[in-house]
Symmetry: D2
Subunit: 363 residues, 4 copies
């Protein structure tokens, strides 16, 4: 419980720093018999890989996944699946400057306070490269969700205030623009906005939306282990997330009960889905819909004020390879965290009724 | 991990239903030697007790806390602190109607899907009475926070779109109006709005803000156990919460990096606090600030459409004792969940450096 | 994780001290739909209740179980089952003496070192009364085991070196003698031995054996969560346990591989069961058999040397109500801990194969 | 909680199979600032490496540890420490025979029943190679224990009934004989006995004893998280362990209270240590002493009866590289599991008193 382990039955344990030997994940508790290959994982890693567009860092990393254990004859064995990605582009450069001060918006200062010192090379453990472990683990979770028919995907809902229009939603569009928006027109505007940000040596934030379809009703537990509470923790554990909402979210706080309640109708389908697919912390069978607010990249080349380790005030300008926006690359990370949460909820929920327990053990 | 246990070292385990014999909590892992009496707990329970204003259910409950174990000679002993509140006003009424259908916005349907049946009396375990256990446990956590100098409080930021004005913030005002707003003028408007809601047989939602002061830097863990992720899960586990944000939250998604970054200055105080006191998941020593969006009470007396257990569409009008808004009563529940999270983070964070470990064991 | 919570899905949280208001347990994670009444619990509590024979303390306690939550219309609801037993015979006596020194073989000294002080009345949390919570929780677990056809029982194998003869094993005999031995002849000898101990103001220990039948093959997990490791922890958590062994146990350390290996035969039944029903930490479908070594009761009236809180050496003679042997009363506690472990293993093991997951969620 | 994660704050997550790409461990929760190098780990791995004596498998493995993360400038950073050992001697051989039947005393059958199939090459995850992860993780834990002055070591107490004589105990001797006994004379007899076993195509078991010195009083928690219960689980999770006892263990079951109680004396040192350093589940400051019973190696070349996957009875003779006794190589594994347990107990115990919490946070 020191930070790098996630989940209760379907558990991942991640490791690795930006400029260490590599990054990786061990998945424990994945059911046996699930088809899994390195390419199943690679396709997810490729979506977060740097260098995919002009809006991502130009650091060159192959981010090639190697499965080290837990798969035999193309299927998971039920034992830990270790996956490793070697770091290749650890530029040998002089870190003495970055080591000496605290970058605004980064974890430099808090790591020093917590641990007494830090691996300052490229942000160390607090670097975005840490998410490789999540995404590789999430790729395994996705295979499990697929096996039970659950469809999970995310996309950029908004960048710098420019919102994808729900009326023009196209799932295919998501993969066809550099910002992963489901609306080509707004995506184009967002790209123009980002180019402007880059010119101004500034950065932008945005909102990611995630949709989970074909979820069995009954997942999640009452009180502290509500499915939305677990999704909240999962998504809020991603570095730059500052807000999380389910269904109508903050807008629900301004609605009346008569507007916000979703009527049930025949076949237990709800007429509306203001709740976002979860009632009382338990999935109701409708689409689960949530959004995450992502702050603007804190690394900007514009001049900023800060202090150094000696407590002196200084002016800095952060050089190096940084994304003007991390929203597009974070889309697959949100998917990964949601998939991990859902996979665990599936396994945790199997024994909620005594008849289910009897059935499984009478086979 | 079936829902009713929260925390890792400072752990609570809650129990009880709306119309069962009572509700309660067991606190395990509280350090020994902390002063604790029943009145320390009662003062927090009294703030969530029904019948405090016209905006809360008129159910009559004494909500009297009884400490059953774990306190000796006025101090915690380090062993489990069991606290019980007997239910007294379980009106004997006919529940056959409510048992037969699914109330929109409630957990009736999802409990039936998960468990096969439900204790339908007053919502059973999904009733707001469940929060008594949290608040009693939170009261113990508050004693621990107080012992290390942490100051934690929450208030109503907004009801039905009416916002407390930050310029007119008064901490004293919070306890002086029925809606727990830190601004008497807006509180009055909110009360008028709620009266209108009641006349229209409707309900309202709102936003609660929580501030935590004097937090030592270094609490929380990187990656999955970020302090904000834990607060998110804690607060999202409260029944009606639909959104959660830290610092600037969703507004950060629309800001530029140059605006959103907080510059460090002398004594490591930040010039601004857009981050809300947490960087990289670890407390930075500034005030922690977060907000929770609360949906409108789903129980309204206006006519609604739904289905019954036989799958037939019906019209219903919910009678009984319900709050037109749960925001004011939820304030203390938000405080409790935040206090529990902080208490656990304090205990989890003691061994982050080897010199701290050596120091404690060389005494 | 401060001591009083046990299990991962099927979890219990216990509380209470010897001379506080009562003792109790909350069971979380019990599947819904299991028949449960207070008498289902009471029959187990009655077996550990004081005053059942001349070999147990003459303290008078009704030990009456009250179910406070989690049961509706005679069945578990899936939500926490709180069970409480009020202490009734808390004699008002002078504890100043016992408060001042450390009883040999007891936890007085270690509690003081850990917590700085202790509830010294009757041993406080380290009293045997603490096991009431375990037994009540175990009674609920037993209901689940019964539902899937598992048969679990324990008995006294040995007291003061007097062993029940396996050749004369009679399950009926167990409940027909004061020491719960499955062999009436040796039981008689054990009783005579205990009477002699009492005359000599001394106490005795013994060995409890537990057998679990009709266990599905496949329970338990490799590496750290082996079923025998979990049983070991569960049983070793009982106050006076000093040893634990599975199958041939310590005798296996002296056997040859050719003797100790169990050959598989048709229908995957093993010809022998030296392994005690567990291979590689996973149940193999044979009977699970384990033994626990119980130390002699540390409270004896014979004179003993010790130190007081001021560090002075003194001589003491412990008065009061104490069992000359705790083995018979511990039998039901061993059963309870084994049942809790097996119930949790059943729920944890449901998702070990992807086809099981698909099956449960395609219903 | 699917088996390969151990600990609460000081946590390890292990992975790897006998004939996969490698084996490894990730240590999370290790305090920052602890000196750690690959050679600190290698020295422990070398003690369990095959080929060290004629009594161990002749498989050739360098078992070279590579630290992949979590160490910076020679010290732990507080973030996950990933350690990997590549498998090098995975002989390409025909596994079709071993895949077809169930070896007596092994986990082949139970893995098939749990997971539906298994990685049968060299035992897969149930191979002794799995312990490399434990030992590497244990090496890190040992560094932490050393930092607070705790001294932990184990040795072979008995092989095939031949016992090291406590009167002739020599700590230096342990590393000077092939069976790691603290008594050169009995070690010689044990070696002769093992040679006889090998000639007879048979195998032997034995008993390992572990001693932990300079343990602070107050570690471990009451009720379910007793220090001895945690050590029991830790040690019982090692593949071939069939029994575990603390202090006098099973012999205590045959002693009288007057014999078994340890009198406290001046300076709170006990006159005797029948209890093995733990009272009421909490360390008392004396040496912690426990023993583990190890069964004879199940892989023997003598002919055995078993069944194949088709349920037919067959005779087999297991060829290949196997240890006639695993006790000597298991010594370091017992040390590793004990060290991991103690490291976690140290970190978990820091907040047992409110004054300790205040002290740490007032720095």
């Amino acid at each position: 419980m020191a930070g790098s382990i996630f989940g209760t039955i379907f558990q991942i344990s991640t490791w690795g720093e930006s400029h260490g030997k590599g990054v990786g994940v061990t998945v424990d508790g994945c059911p046996a018999g699930l088809p899994l290959s390195e390419s199943d994982i690679q396709q997810w890693l490729d979506r977060r890989k740097p260098g995919q567009s002009k809006f991502t860092t130009q650091r060159k990393e192959a981010d090639q996944a190697e499965i080290l254990s837990g798969v035999f004859e193309g299927k998971t064995t039920g034992t830990p699946i270790a996956i490793m990605v070697r770091n290749t582009d650890q530029r040998s450069r002089d870190y003495s400057e970055i080591a000496s001060y605290y970058r605004p918006g980064h974890a430099d200062y808090t790591f020093d306070r917590k641990y007494g010192f830090r691996d300052y090379r490229g942000g160390g453990r607090s670097s975005g490269r840490e998410t490789i472990g999540r995404v590789a683990g999430g790729a395994v979770a996705m295979q499990l969700l697929k096996a039970v028919g659950i469809d999970l995907f995310a996309y950029t809902k908004e960048i710098g205030g420019i919102q994808a229009d729900p009326e023009k939603f196209s799932r295919e569009a998501i993969m066809e623009n550099a910002v992963y928006m489901p609306d080509m027109d707004e995506a184009k505007k967002a790209e123009e906005f980002l180019e402007q940000c880059m010119k101004e040596q500034d950065s932008a934030g945005g909102i990611i939306e995630c949709v989970i379809r074909n979820v069995p009703a009954g997942l999640g537990d009452p009180v502290f282990e509500k499915l939305d509470a677990k999704l909240a923790a999962a998504v809020f554990s991603i570095g730059a997330v500052k807000g999380f909402e389910v269904g109508d979210g903050f807008a629900a706080a301004r609605a009346r009960g008569s507007e916000n309640n979703d009527s049930f109708c025949i076949n237990n389908i709800k007429k509306t889905n203001h709740a976002g697919g979860i009632l009382g912390g338990i999935s109701d069978g409708s689409d689960i819909v949530f959004r995450a607010a992502i702050k603007p990249t804190p690394s900007i080349s514009a001049v900023q004020e800060t202090v150094n380790r000696d407590g002196e005030e200084i002016s800095i300008s952060i050089k190096g390879r940084h994304d003007p926006v991390i929203v597009p690359r974070a889309v697959v990370v949100v998917e990964a965290m949601a998939a991990l949460t859902m996979a665990d909820a599936l396994l945790m929920g199997m024994g909620s009724r005594v008849d289910m327990v009897k059935e499984v053990y009478s086979r």
